[in-house]
Structure formats: structure tokens, C-alpha cells
């Protein structure tokens, strides 16, 4: 896997692929994940609003709800949950697509034309994932914060002024920046695992199916493990 990543990074520098291929992948990995990201973000923010309100209310601090919801989302839940959603939706599809191309000799055909499959198949997906994940995370954060606002302010009666004022006061640029760094690195993990598993998929439909499952499991675990180490560095 390490060699695969090095080859990809080399390909990214030397032959990053045509912009049209990258845009196509941004559409697939990014734009087509929007619905699931917005849906997940909305309900995540709402449940955070609900849980946060009842916990903070015990200490008479329900005015801090905006800070709790926004910090939880921006630092952790936004990057991690958006990455897990993209892993399930796009990571699996990346593996299946490349895996099917592998078993049907389409990748061999590309190689016999003296064309590097990394340039056409792998590099565009890496670039697209590195661009899309931070953007999806930003959308996740915003939608989630409004989800928390909907429950906290509109349903449970938290002061609307304090919800946003506490958020502005507690969230620093460093928090936003660390969330973006996490998302960027999760994008690399999703593309790396997805492409690798597809590229080395076993024989037949069973091989592709196994590779797809392994891709989702491995990428999800790596996202969570890497999140811990990155958090310990960025905090």
C-alpha cells in the first residue's frame, strides 16, 4: 500500500491528469455526496442540540449550547462523519469501478497503449477527494450548526442571541483550520484505500465484492485511527 501511495504521489506531481477528469470526479465524489452530507449533518446537529441542551440545562448553562454544538461539529464530527459518509458512498464506488476495470482487462488495455493508469484512474480521484472533502466538511459544519439552532432555539427556547454569540466567542480559526486539515487528510485516505483495493481486486465478481467491502471497512477504521493521532497533534 505504501508503494501504491508513493506511485500515486509521483503521478500527481508528474502527470496529474486532465482537468476534465478531475472535474468529473469532483462531481462524483463531492457534488453527488451533497444530499447524504446535508441529511446527516442536519440530524447530527439536531441531536447535538437536544443532548447538549439537557446536559447544559442541568448546570444552568444552556446559553452555551451554540458553543458546544459548533465546537463538536467543527473540530470532530464534521470532518469524521462527512469522511465516513463519503467512504460509504464514493469510496466503495471507486473500488468497484477500478476493480471491474481490473478484472475486465481495461487497465491492462490502458497499459498496452503505453498510458499510465495512475494518470487516468487514480490521480484524478485523489485530487477530487482532497478538494471535495474539506468542502463537504464545511457544508456539514454549517448545516449541523443550523440543525442545533433549530432544536435548541426554535424547539427548546434557548436564547437565539446567545446561541450565535457563544459560538463566535468560542470557535477560533485554529478549530476551523484543524477541521479542514483533517478533512483533507481523510480525502487522501479514502482515495488511497479505494483505489488500492480496486487496483488489486481479486478474480471475478466475488473478488470485486470482497475488495469493496474491505475498502469501506479499512478506510473507515483508518479515518478514526488517523483522527485520534491528528487530534493529538493539532490540539
Amino acid at each position: 500500500m505504501g508503494h501504491f501511495l508513493l506511485h500515486t504521489l509521483y503521478a500527481l506531481v508528474r502527470q496529474p491528469g486532465r482537468p476534465v477528469h478531475v472535474l468529473k470526479q469532483i462531481r462524483f465524489i463531492g457534488a453527488k455526496s451533497l444530499f447524504v452530507i446535508v441529511l446527516t449533518a442536519g440530524f447530527t446537529g439536531m441531536v447535538l442540540g437536544l443532548q447538549g441542551y439537557y446536559t447544559l440545562a442541568k448546570f444552568g448553562s444552556d446559553g452555551l449550547l451554540g458553543a458546544v454544538v459548533s465546537l463538536s461539529l467543527i473540530r470532530e464530527l464534521g470532518p469524521v462523519l462527512s469522511a465516513l459518509m463519503v467512504t460509504g458512498r464514493a469510496g466503495s464506488a471507486i473500488t468497484a469501478e477500478i476493480g471491474i476495470m481490473r478484472i475486465s482487462e481495461q487497465i491492462d488495455a490502458m497499459e498496452t497503449m503505453a498510458l499510465d493508469p495512475f494518470k487516468y484512474l487514480v490521480s484524478p480521484k485523489f485530487i477530487a477527494a482532497m478538494i471535495s472533502l474539506p468542502l463537504l466538511c464545511a457544508i456539514f459544519d454549517v448545516v449541523g450548526i443550523y440543525g442545533g439552532w433549530l432544536v435548541g432555539v426554535k424547539l427548546l427556547g434557548v436564547n437565539p442571541g446567545s446561541y450565535f454569540t457563544e459560538m463566535y466567542r468560542s470557535v477560533e480559526w485554529k478549530d476551523v483550520w484543524s477541521g479542514m486539515v483533517k478533512s483533507f487528510s481523510f480525502g487522501i485516505i479514502i482515495a488511497w484505500v479505494g483505489c488500492y483495493k480496486g487496483y488489486y481486486a481479486g478474480h471475478g465478481a466475488e473478488g470485486v465484492s470482497k475488495a469493496t467491502t474491505e475498502s469501506v471497512v479499512l478506510a473507515s477504521v483508518l479515518v478514526l485511527v488517523w483522527d485520534y493521532f491528528l487530534t493529538s497533534i493539532l490540539l
Binding site: 482487462e105 491492462d108 497503449m113 487516468y120
Partner: protein, 250 residues
């Protein structure tokens, strides 16, 4: 010229090629025949560096392709085209996009020039009005023709055909053979065809190589192979059920 010298290849415990030697004469058509599962496609993939042997040497125009970096190997591959058994068309691209792909990626031709060359290439293999179709909308014979058009577009010096007529009806099979024969005569490339089509292949190839148990058992002109006394060769070309191939004793 392509030369395979003492090629050994095994996948796990299964030995596929066992000291195979073959010289493919330049500018002619060589057909590799032999029972199924004997490693003909594996041998073909060694010629273009898709597989590397466990032991042995692969020479293309006198240059060893083993141990070459990607850039050097690609320079050698520029000479080749390969037509795969299942055509290996890019299934997310239309017929036009499939054929145009190598031109778009490897030349600086204008869009109009590419379009004109793609149309000519498709017409040469007898295809029209299929440009916007996807591979899964084509018949097996049409896919093979598109694969052939894509392969020949960059005017290769060597063309490898991996069972180009498998699964096709006799008429289409004959048409594909005729097409290979005509294009080889027209462009003068070196062709290697892996095939089971006895006796049709004798009309297409200048040389026949019989592969059996990981080795080239016999190499010669179609007449020499048809007149061979070797029991394995005789049984294979006659299609007889009785003989060393079934009994496993050569």
C-alpha cells in the same frame, strides 16, 4: 522481432510456462495454437510486459523488456497494440470515445482530425452508426472490431491478438480473420494471434506455433504443421478425442 527465451512462469503451485522458447518473425503473422489452459494468453502478456517471467528473457527488437522502468517500458509498448479476448473496451466510454482515447492522449491532433481518423478506422473494420453506442450495447463481434480499430489507429509495428474470434459465429469469425489478414498485409505489422480456430487459422497465419505443457512443441508453416507426425499436434488439429492430449501422455 519478438523473442521469448526459456520462459518459466508459475502462479502459486501451478506451472504455466515451462522453458518456453519462441521467435516471432517480423512482418508476418504467427498463430499460437494449443489446448485451452496451456498458457497461450499468459505467453502473450509476457511479450508486452503485462506479466514478468519467473525466469527467462523477453526481447523486443533485440532489447530486453525485463527490469525496464515504466518510461522505458512504455517506449517499447509504443510499438505494440493488443486486441483482448473480450475486447477490453472502456465500458464508461462510447465507441467513439474508446477509439479516440489513444489519439487524444498521445497525439496533438485537432478534434476534427481525430474525428476523421476515428471514423475511417471504424469504417475499415466495417462499423458505422455505432459511434455513440456503449460497449454493452454491442455484439461480441462488434466489440472485437472496435478493439481492432482502437488497436490499429496508432499504426503499431506489432499487434497481439488474444483469441480474437472466440465465441463468434462462423460467418463473423471468418470476417474477423479476413480483416486481420487484410490489415496485416496492408500495414505490414508483426502479428501474433492466440487462437483455437482450426483450420481457419491456417489461412491467416504465415507461421504456426503449437504450445503444449508450457513449451512450444512445434513451429513451422501451416503446411508443415498440418503435415506434422507429432501425435499431440495431429490430435489437436484433427480434434480427435483419442490421443495423448486426453491421456495426458505426450
Amino acid at each position: 522481432m519478438i523473442e521469448l527465451i526459456n520462459i518459466h512462469k508459475a502462479f502459486g503451485s501451478q506451472t504455466v510456462l515451462n522453458g518456453l522458447n519462441l521467435k516471432v518473425p517480423a512482418g508476418t503473422t504467427t498463430a499460437v495454437i494449443g489446448p485451452s489452459g496451456e498458457g497461450k494468453s499468459v505467453m502473450l502478456k509476457h511479450m508486452i510486459g503485462l506479466l514478468t517471467p519467473d525466469q527467462g528473457e523477453v526481447l523486443v527488437d533485440g532489447t530486453s523488456i525485463l527490469g525496464l522502468g515504466r518510461v522505458e517500458l512504455n517506449r517499447i509498448r509504443e510499438k505494440f497494440a493488443m486486441v483482448f479476448q473480450n475486447a477490453a473496451l472502456f465500458d464508461s466510454m462510447t465507441v467513439y470515445e474508446n477509439v479516440a482515447f489513444p489519439l487524444e492522449e498521445k497525439t496533438n491532433l485537432s478534434r476534427d482530425e481525430i474525428s476523421s481518423r476515428v471514423e475511417t478506422a471504424l469504417l475499415e473494420v466495417g462499423l458505422k452508426n455505432v459511434y455513440q453506442k456503449y460497449p454493452d450495447e454491442l455484439s461480441g463481434g462488434m466489440k472485437k472490431r472496435v478493439g481492432l480499430a482502437r488497436g490499429l489507429l496508432l499504426e503499431p509495428q506489432i499487434v497481439l491478438f488474444d483469441e480474437p474470434t472466440t465465441g463468434l459465429d462462423p460467418v463473423i469469425r471468418r470476417a474477423i480473420h479476413q480483416l486481420i489478414k487484410e490489415t496485416q498485409a496492408k500495414f505490414g505489422f508483426t502479428a501474433v494471434i492466440v487462437s483455437h480456430d482450426i483450420p481457419d487459422i491456417f489461412e491467416v497465419a504465415h507461421h504456426i506455433a503449437m504450445l503444449y505443457r508450457g513449451e512450444i512443441l512445434q513451429f513451422g508453416t501451416p503446411e508443415e504443421i498440418q503435415g506434422s507426425d507429432h501425435p499431440v499436434v495431429r490430435q489437436f488439429i484433427s480434434g480427435s478425442l483419442d490421443g495423448p492430449i486426453n491421456s495426458g501422455v505426450a
